[in-house]
């Protein structure tokens, strides 16, 4: 049983603070993906769990035991590195079995276990090769096997798929999920790729500038992003943001060009508050003008095969619309946009936080 509890963890290098007040509980057997752009501190957090970086503030507990002062080998974690970090002078079999050799397991047991592990990731025929003779995908498997063989309580992945080509990446993604389900360890996976995050995670942790922006299931994070930052980061193509001002009746938002967007009753902004309206391109539909449709000026369209991505502008704010139907508009033409009422995300104009955040079940999950 290994639950990871991170309490108010922080990290400073000299005088520079790169992470602060990170709190997160990862349940036993859960697959958590930490998502964020490069430099947001996600890898540092992973390395703090692994024991490769000092924890300068707060504490991290694995399976109920505080590990701040423990060596990596005492924490029961296995890690898969971005560049695989295979020992170049050892064969695949030696690479996979090295941890067991260090632990002093007798050779016969070790070899049997190496064979079994190699079998499970499809490496049996490569056991005598050196890493230099393997393809990227095969090296990745060796790195996985090396982690699996230790039967770790916690599996850590540091952007392990970023060096693979697109097709292999999808394949290894499935493989990782399969292995996770099979060995039922707690997995923490760091990536900057939102597709990996969405598809792999039981829960997503979105990080920005050394703090956690949101914790929630991929669905929650997509449907109810906690901030402008998360909303813009999750989803492809990115969410559209329209700045506006709440009307005195607090039931609608007036955009800069005078058009209004009605608000659902659950959202209760202050009258006159400056807000950002978020609309996902895939929730918008193209429609004739009038009848409450938002008017926008057509700029150009991108062909996607399955549909088209239309680029429009409302005043000077760019808006993109993803639609299956293929229209041929002329540049400068005015087009109507429609969207369901519940597709409107409202964020505070200054802080960027979601206005109806207190309804979000995500907050409860933080302490779960």
């Amino acid at each position: 049983m290994a639950e990871i509890a991170i309490r108010n963890a922080g990290k400073t290098y000299g005088k520079t603070r790169i992470m602060q007040d990170v709190s997160l509980v990862i349940n036993n057997g859960e697959f958590v993906v930490i998502l964020g752009p490069s430099g947001c501190g996600k890898s540092t957090l992973l390395r703090m769990i692994a024991g490769l970086e000092d924890i300068t503030d707060g504490e991290i507990a694995i399976g109920g035991q505080v590990v701040n002062r423990l060596e990596p080998r005492e924490r029961g974690c296995a890690m898969v590195f971005q560049n695989y970090a295979l020992y170049p002078h050892m064969t695949v079999a030696e690479n996979i079995g090295y941890a067991l050799k260090v632990a002093g397991m007798p050779k016969a047991d070790r070899l049997a276990k190496v064979a079994a592990t190699a079998q499970s990731v499809g490496l049996t025929e490569f056991l005598d090769r050196k890493p230099g003779q393997l393809s990227g995908g095969q090296r990745q498997r060796v790195a996985m096997a090396r982690a699996i063989i230790r039967e770790p309580k916690v599996f850590l992945f540091d952007e392990p798929l970023s060096n693979l080509d697109a097709k292999l990446r999808v394949q290894m993604r499935h493989e990782i999920r399969r292995i996770h389900n099979q060995i039922s360890a707690t997995s923490v996976f760091v990536t900057h790729d939102q597709h990996e995050g969405m598809t792999l995670a039981d829960r997503l942790v979105v990080m920005n500038k050394g703090t956690i922006e949101q914790i929630g299931t991929p669905e929650e994070v997509y449907d109810r992003p906690a901030s402008v930052y998360v909303a813009g980061f999750i989803g492809s193509p990115a969410m559209n943001f329209l700045p506006g001002r709440v009307t005195d009746s607090r039931s609608a938002v007036v955009l800069d060009d005078g058009q209004t967007i009605p608000l659902v009753s659950a959202i209760k902004p202050a009258a006159g508050q400056m807000v950002q309206i978020g609309l996902r391109p895939e929730k918008l539909t193209l429609a004739p003008l009038g009848g409450g449709a938002l008017a926008a000026r057509f700029e150009f369209a991108e062909e996607l095969g399955s549909g088209r991505l239309y680029h429009l502008k409302i005043e000077d704010v760019p808006v993109s619309v993803m639609a299956a139907e293929k229209h041929s508009f002329v540049e400068g033409q005015t087009i109507g946009l429609r969207f369901p009422n519940d597709a409107v995300h409202v964020f505070d104009g200054a802080s960027g936080l979601r206005l109806d955040l207190h309804h979000a079940p995500a907050a409860a999950l933080v302490s779960a």
Binding site: A50, C77, Y98, A99, G132
Partner: protein, 309 residues
């Protein structure tokens, strides 16, 4: 890069061949001289083709110089220098690259500075230390007044002495204490990716285990290169053994011994110019370094160009 320039190719080959001839010719002359008897080697013009006396000359030179024990001595010293250097440089560089401690850079620069002070430059102070390896501590004791204190308290005057003259240790240690190897290892260790170090830590390998299981196998070519260079360097030592080895019967080195065979006004008293013996001895003395170089070549060439695929 592929270029098709036949004329340039031809020209470069000609230049290379001329260079080769320049290098080979003196060695050829030495070989030819070693195969003639006293009379033939001293007739003008110089013989350019080998004669029949090589074996006899070699036997005579070997006996005359007492080369048997001298080869053993030199081999002991050379191997001592190689082993000492390879080990010391490896652990020093290991500490400098993979550990974080106060004064690390200072230590590195101190070691680095010794590159600028080869043995020949600091030979007098080195001799003083070799005469009594503990003299620095003696000086410290005397200067700090500690020795006087001990003397008044116990009536015993502390006199530290550890004489390294006329010993293998004295021959080996000063040759080991240079920065070349440390520098070579350091540059290589710096190219080892951090991820590899971390992977070893995750696998539970401690620092020494990592050194032994990963770093040393990875630096095989570097070790071969360093060993080769150090062996040749130690084998060819002349000045240092000449200085500290006075007991030539027991601790003589081949190169010093060889210099005795070279006819000059002191050793021969203006008498017989026995060049055929000197050259035969030269050939014999040259053999071990050449053998080592040929044997290690394929390893150390890779080590010096240091390409990681």
């Amino acid at each position: 890069m592929i270029e098709r320039t036949p004329i340039l190719n031809f020209l470069t080959h000609v230049i290379l061949l001329i260079g080769l001839a320049l290098v080979i010719f003196p060695i050829w002359l030495a070989f030819v001289a070693a195969t003639h008897d006293l009379r033939a080697v001293n007739t003008a013009p110089v013989e350019l083709l080998p004669g029949p006396h090589l074996w006899a000359n070699m036997k005579e030179a070997w006996a005359l110089s007492d080369f048997g024990p001298k080869f053993v001595n030199t081999l002991i010293v050379a191997i001592g220098v190689v082993v000492g250097k390879v080990t010391l440089a490896c652990i020093t560089a290991f500490s400098l690259v993979f550990f974080n401690y106060r004064g690390r850079m200072l230590i590195f620069w101190l070691i680095f500075i010794t590159l600028m002070l080869p043995l020949e430059v600091r030979i007098v102070p080195t001799y003083a230390v070799a005469a009594n390896a503990l003299s620095p501590f003696q000086v410290m004791l005397d200067a700090s007044g500690l020795n006087g204190l001990i003397e008044t308290l116990s009536g015993i005057r502390v006199a530290l002495e550890w004489n390294l003259l006329n010993s293998y240790t004295g021959m080996i240690l000063p040759l080991v204490a240079t920065a070349t190897g440390t520098f070579l290892y350091r540059q290589f260790f710096l190219t080892v990716p951090d991820e590899l170090v971390e992977a070893a830590r995750m696998d539970g390998a401690g620092p020494l285990r990592f050194l032994w299981d990963t770093l040393i196998p990875l630096s095989k070519t570097n070790i071969a290169a360093l060993a080769t260079i150090m062996f040749v360097y130690a084998w060819n030592q002349y000045l240092w053994p000449l200085l500290i080895i006075t007991d030539r019967a027991n601790y003589g080195m081949v190169v010093v011994q060889l210099s005795d065979l070279v006819p000059d006004q002191f050793s021969t008293g203006g008498g017989t110019p026995t060049w055929h013996l000197a050259m035969a001895a030269t050939l014999m003395v040259m053999l071990p370094p050449i053998a080592i170089v040929i044997f290690m070549q394929r390893w150390f060439v890779r080590g010096l160009i240091n390409t990681d695929k």
